[in-house]
Amino acid sequence: MDGDRTWFLRPSTQTVVVTVALLLSSLLVYAFPRSLPAFLLFQASLLILYHARIARPLKIGFAASALGLLLPILGSINGYYLEVAIQVGIFVALALGLNIVVGLAGLLDLGYVAFFAVGAYLWAIFGSRQANQFISASLIQFPLAPEWFFVFLLLGVVVAAVTGVLLGLPVLRLRGDYLAIVTLGFGEVVRVLVNNLDKPINFTNGPIGITPIQRPPLFFLPVLEALGIRASPAALYALYFYFLVLLIVLVVTLVTQRLHHSHIGRAWEAIREDEMAAMAMGVPLVRMKLLAFAAGASFAGTMGVLFSAKQLYINPESFTFMESIGVLAMVILGGMGSIPGVVLGATVVTVLNLQVLKELSIWLNTLRHTEAAISIPLIGSFSFSQLPPQFEPAKYERMIFGIILVLMMIFRPQGMIPPRRWRRTRGE
């Protein structure tokens, strides 16, 4: 991508390299459907594709076939990969939304997951019988029909954006660190409210959560049947959600990119760099900050609607402070203000949590049952069967988030893939 970087491979050779990497890693996943390294290699080949210097249409073609064809095929071999891909997609959209607020406008929002919760509960309440708790069943019979899902995807954007503006109005004149604490408080208030609004009127069903939630309609089913394609409902819905997420992520990415390169994006960056100077140049501070809050919130809102439909079940536990920090860690790891960086950061953190840590837990458990032991000089030998059962690496998400935040702040605050403008000003 960078014009001034010297590359040792000619573009034609790079095309070959990318093709080989994609095909080889896909074959590996096909041959070893349970192997984590094979799937990681597949993801790495996507990164190679991003960094390869080949013609743009060709690159888009590669990306489309990898994400639109190869990944669904691999997902039908090992269904868990599709689940991972869906989760990655959800977090990419969330991270892109937070990136607008934190990365572009420079406002540290520690309660971002609240907007996700707003979207999720919006569909959960009206897409299940829950709404009949406060709307008489003789008036409307809930749940709403599956077709309403698409209306609610848009409604999620609107409602979350309005929530963002409502939160933003009173707090935006606060200094940076106070703003962070207030948004944190707001996130917690939303969580406590959701947890307790089962009385006096039952809106959210409290800590028990809401289930079953309506899934989106399978409008294409007649077409599939006409073509003679049969699939189990589980596989069908997994593929369906995968493509829905892919579509939303695509839209969100395009919107972010257009915003970033518009006068709005430049205004945001001006505010981030120096509020005083921005104001002096005639940037309407309050309006631009509100816009950033609304835009960031709207991404989370629409993803929330999709999340509740995919999960079939939601409760307040999915919307804790830890989730907000997780999304923040993704943005920081990838690079604040950089779209490819944030996508990479969300992917790395999600895969680390969902796959690597879990794999490590399973591996330790097997070691525990085999009589494996390591001997360390001077200390003596240590047998894995002595490892306490409470010790599970899969539960250490917070440690991962923490290490990412501290190390990135100290050693690489610009992130793994810094924004292009950053690179230009530092002459890299």
Partner: protein, 321 residues
């Protein structure tokens, strides 16, 4: 109405005990903010580390069979000292590793680093306790002496441990106030808070004073952790988050950077919360229960930050360029 009056003294004592605990934690936030204008987000975990050291000491003594034999006051001093040492040293280490390299960076950078430290420490404590005890939800062993209840009137009695918490907290707060306002070291700390460059020109070792601030704030947090464990028994690595936010609220309420302010803010918040927790459900006929006490504290935080960011006793903090 009778029940409202009958529980009043109990709620009052609970509220004051809670308030002094918040005040002790709030000191860590407010002192660091005064010196560095930076929210030490990891302070809540420094507090929890003190609570865990306290429970480890007590459990070890219990395993040795010494818990009953030691004099309760001696026991309390021993546990407090252990908790304060651990938390103070931990705060010192965190400052050295995660904050000092970022002192020149933009405001939000050390804050993000502090959030990272907070999350890291939570799981580090969990990691250590899981390996060591195969459990990370620990309860303080009961000490019969502290479990006594003192009869105030025929109807009203209060637990002795609440009074112990209040007395211990007051002693420490008075000691700290003397340290900061009557000694040379205290003067140096206040000078650094006022103006780092000038303080440095006057021959004050700024780095050392900042480290000392973290040490003192951390030690107070550790003491609060031990008192928290004695008062509420159950502690987990994630216990610190809510008291941490509330103590920060207390610091903001009293005026951040202001030591007496933190004490006033802590007690006010503790009382408000105790009364909200006991009376909200009675007064609204059960529609809003004690669960809303957290919302109550957060709302106070948000309102204070918006309408009176300098707090009850504070002065306006200058914006650092």
């Amino acid at each position: 109405m009778d029940i409202l009056i009958a529980i009043f003294p109990q709620v009052l004592v609970d509220g004051i005990a809670l308030g002094f605990m918040y005040a002790l934690i709030a000191l860590g936030y407010t002192m660091v903010y005064g010196v560095l204008t930076f929210i030490n987000f990891a302070h809540s975990e420094i507090f929890v580390a003190g609570a865990f050291v306290g429970v480890e000491v007590l459990l070890t003594l219990q395993a040795w069979g010494l818990l009953q034999d030691l004099h309760p006051v001696l026991l309390l001093l021993l546990v407090l000292l252990a908790g304060m040492t651990m938390s103070g040293v931990l705060a010192l280490a965190v400052e050295r590793v995660a904050y000092r390299p970022l002192r020149a960076a933009p405001r939000l950078v050390p804050l993000i680093s502090a959030i990272g430290v907070s999350f890291f420490l939570q799981d580090l404590i969990r990691f250590g306790e899981s390996l060591w005890r195969n459990a990370f939800y620990l309860t303080y062993p009961s000490i019969p002496f502290f479990d006594q209840r003192i009869q105030l009137t025929a109807l009203v009695d209060v637990p002795l441990k609440s009074l112990v918490v209040i007395v211990a907290a007051i002693v420490m707060l008075v000691g700290l106030n003397l340290l900061v306002h009557r000694t040379k070291i205290g003067t140096a700390i206040r000078a650094v808070a006022e103006d780092q460059a000038t303080a440095s020109l006057m021959g004050i070792d700024v780095d050392r004073m900042i480290a000392l601030t973290f040490l003192i704030g951390g030690a107070m947090g550790g003491a609060a952790g031990v008192l928290f464990g004695i008062q509420y028994s159950l502690i987990t690595p994630y216990t610190g988050f809510i008291p941490g936010i509330k103590a920060f609220t207390a610091a903001v309420l009293g005026g951040i950077g202001n030591i007496p302010g933190a004490m006033v803010g802590g007690v006010v918040l503790g009382l408000l919360e105790a009364f909200a927790a006991s009376y909200l459900s009675l007064l609204t006929g059960g529609a809003f229960g004690a669960e809303y006490k957290d919302i109550f504290a957060f709302s106070i935080l948000i309102l204070i930050l918006i309408f009176r960011p300098q707090g009850l006793l504070g002065e306006v903090v200058r914006e650092r360029a």
